[in-house]
């Protein structure tokens, strides 16, 4: 190795070390509260605020998890969130996939304006239409049902998903459909048999975006449901913020339980999510 090459390599290594150090610092910053929450969830309530602060609980306990899983509504809230999230994802995709495909492939009068209008609707802040939506929900007797939440969530997510998927469909070569047509398939057949399988990463990414949105939402979930049996997890967690103080041990245990499905979903679909988002971004 020449001296010049060594000189070039040293700054590169330094730069790489700097990048890694930055990434590690970022990761620690992001994970720190989670680890603290995990530690707190294994502490008896009496020692949660004890000083000096201990990362490893002196008295390790599963009582908080027992209370959350067996003496609270959290499991029910979790199930509700899973149901509402999955159905919202299905409804959103059912509407957004054909709409995005149409926007990517077809020419029709007012298409640009329509797409802009669709995008514009997603920019209206939720709080701005909350009162009329609430009034409508009560008057239509759908207040306190999963149905009302699913309709609102889907309505809110469809515009965003249409725009994400439109870019994705545009990145798929139209020649594939033309070849299919030459072989005798219909437009619908080409869409279902040829395009949808190729669009799986994009659809997966859209599904995860919608799922996460519903899972994390508090505004709609707290406004349109008061029945504790229908409550979603984001609202259920507030149970531990009581007038007599915050029940930190159980709250952090509930948060850990709540995080689990999201972590599993990300681990399982991480590659698809990244592929889907980057593919849409390159063309969109």
């Amino acid at each position: 190795m020449t001296a010049d090459a060594t000189r070039v390599k040293r700054p590169a290594r330094l730069r790489q070390a700097g990048i890694y150090a930055g990434l590690v610092a970022g990761a620690v910053f992001a994970v720190f509260p989670l680890l603290w929450g995990l530690s707190t969830s294994f502490k008896p309530e009496a020692t949660v605020l004890a000083t000096p602060v201990r990362w490893i609980p002196e008295h390790f306990t599963f009582d908080n998890y027992h209370a959350v899983l067996f003496d609270s509504q959290i499991p029910r809230n979790l199930l509700n969130s899973v149901i509402v999230s999955i159905i919202t994802v299905a409804v959103t995709l059912l509407i957004a996939v054909p709409a995005a495909y149409s926007a990517a492939r077809y020419r029709f009068r007012g298409k640009g304006g329509l797409l802009f209008f669709i995008l514009m609707t997603s920019m209206v802040p939720g709080i701005a239409v909350l009162v009329p939506l609430y009034y409508l929900a009560v008057k239509l007797s759908v207040y306190d049902t999963f149905f009302v939440m699913i309709v609102i969530y889907a309505a809110w997510q469809v515009p965003t998903i249409i725009w994400i998927l439109r870019g994705f469909f545009e990145s798929i070569p139209a020649d594939i459909e033309e070849a299919g047509r030459v072989d005798g398939t219909t437009t619908f057949g080409a869409f279902v048999r040829l395009i949808l399988p190729l669009a799986k990463p994009g659809i997966g990414a859209a599904a995860i975006i919608t799922f996460v949105y519903v899972w994390n939402d508090y505004l709609i979930a707290s406004t349109f449901v008061s029945d504790s049996d229908l409550r979603l997890i984001s609202v259920g967690l507030y149970t531990y913020l009581t007038q007599y103080g915050t029940v930190w041990g159980q709250l952090t245990a509930a948060v850990m339980v709540t995080l689990l499905p999201m972590i599993i979903a990300f681990v399982l679909f991480e590659r698809r999510l990244v592929a889907g988002l980057s593919a849409g971004a390159s063309k969109g």
């Binding site: 149901i83 059912l94 492939r105 020419r107 139209a174 149970t239």
Partner: protein, 439 residues
């Protein structure tokens, strides 16, 4: 490829989407579970207590509701638990669309807000006879539950604000227990200095969180202690008075003397209590309803001592606010008679004893003679609290826009205490602004 979309294509895709939405709707149209038809009035009760949780007060609520449901066949109460910070908005919104609960739990300072929001109805018609019989048993005048002279709710829980101090911390820094507020401030300053500012000697939360409640819970009784009031009999703000200035000067003195630093700007009642639990706050004025929770923390227990809040003169106490939880009748209930029957059951000596056993300070004098109080580990203290409430309890007026006023006042207090704003001028500014708005 770009294809011209014809009508057939559009119809096909439209139908596809419609089927999707319909299927989704059918799948999810569930959850509205109101039964009926058997002549039993289904009553919904919205409260901040959680009967399904581990909190003893929630368990007491469950016992009481189950007891009521089993005691008669005309009505069945179902409890919906809501976060305490959300419940008022939810009830008012629900009532304004023709719904809402039949029975609702309301904290006294929020009663006027509910009256203005049309979410509850007056109960004089139902309560008068009962009050003429049982009203004398109330520990304090029921006026705290009246708005514009009409009874809007029945108080079922009492609370007093007390001077809390951590005996172990005072002992560690060789400071005597205070007998006046001036002594408390001096002791707090000594502790904060000796601990290298790691312990707040005497904390009054000045955060805007929770609408400045921790500050108002001191400013209001202090003002009363100096002979003034926050809201006058005419409904107008009256705190920019000599009494209000003295009260604010007293709080400012705690900061000037060094008993509390700028850390209190980020503290509400929760943070102050957490500080007491963690040993980073030596003294504070907090509610009786939080004592049990604070004592349960490791190393606290009997080290947390409570006293009636002393005044600036030895042997004399500051007044304490008369506030607490109440039960009100929903504006849209179809079953007022059954709701009233439940309210009476909730206020019975048996129900009050159940709450007392769960650490709730009862509102009925007779309950203090019950086994529930006698068996309590802090029976002597409970009786001391009762006496403080009976002797020095002060009913305040809480207008519908009280939360806006308290937020503005705590912002002004931050400036007066830490940023050098002149006390009389800043108080006058908030008062004038409030009164002009109310014109």
């Amino acid at each position: 490829m770009a294809t011209n979309m014809n009508r057939r294509h559009l119809l096909r895709l439209g139908a596809f989407a419609a089927i999707g939405v319909t299927t989704g709707g059918a799948l999810t149209a569930c959850g509205d579970g109101d039964s009926g038809g058997d002549g039993v009035a289904e009553l919904s009760m919205w409260t901040f207590l959680d009967p399904a949780g581990t909190d003893p007060r929630g368990k007491a609520l469950k016992e009481i509701v189950d007891g009521f449901n089993a005691s008669q066949s005309a009505a069945k109460v179902t409890v919906t638990s809501m976060n305490y910070a959300k419940i008022d908005g939810e009830v008012i919104r629900a009532a304004n669309t023709g719904g809402g609960p039949d029975i609702v739990n309301i904290y006294t300072p929020q009663l006027a807000q509910h009256v203005e929001g049309g979410s509850i109805q007056e109960i004089d018609e139902y309560a008068n006879d009962w009050l003429s019989e049982a009203g004398a048993d109330y520990l304090f005048p029921i006026d705290s539950a009246k708005v514009d002279g009409k009874l809007m709710a029945l108080p079922w829980e009492s609370r007093v604000w007390l001077l809390w101090y951590r005996k172990d911390i005072l002992d560690k820094y060789k400071v005597s227990a205070p007998t006046t507020l001036d002594e408390a401030i001096a002791a707090g300053a000594a502790i904060r200095k000796a601990s290298g500012n790691k312990i707040t000697g005497f904390a009054i939360g000045l955060s805007e969180q929770s609408l400045g409640a921790d500050f108002m819970e001191k400013f209001d009784p202090f003002t009363a202690g100096f002979g003034g009031e926050i809201i006058g009999a005419d409904g107008k703000a009256a705190f920019a008075s000599a009494a209000g200035e003295q009260a604010m000067a007293l709080i400012k003195k705690a900061a000037d003397a060094g008993a509390m630093g700028r850390e209190v700007l980020t503290m509400g009642a929760d943070e102050v209590v957490n500080g007491v639990k963690a040993g980073t706050v030596a003294m504070a004025i907090e509610g009786s309803y939080r004592v049990a929770s604070a004592r349960s923390a490791e190393g606290v227990g009997d080290n947390l001592v409570t006293l009636p809040v002393p005044s600036t003169t030895a042997g004399k106490n500051m007044p304490t606010a008369v506030a607490g939880q109440t039960l009100a009748m929903g504006a849209n209930t179809d079953h007022p008679e059954q709701v009233w029957a439940f309210m009476r059951y909730y206020l019975s000596a048996e129900s009050q004893a159940k709450f007392a056993a769960a650490g709730v300070l009862p509102v009925l004098k007779s309950v203090y003679d019950s086994d529930a109080i006698a068996k309590a580990a802090n029976a002597t203290e409970l009786l001391q609290w009762r006496d403080y409430l009976a002797t020095d309890g002060k009913v305040s007026r809480f207008p519908a826009d009280y939360s806006e006023l308290s937020t503005n006042l705590v912002k002004a207090a931050q400036n007066m205490i830490f940023n050098g704003a002149a006390v009389p001028a800043a108080l006058s500014e908030v008062q004038t602004q409030y009164n002009q708005k109310g014109k």
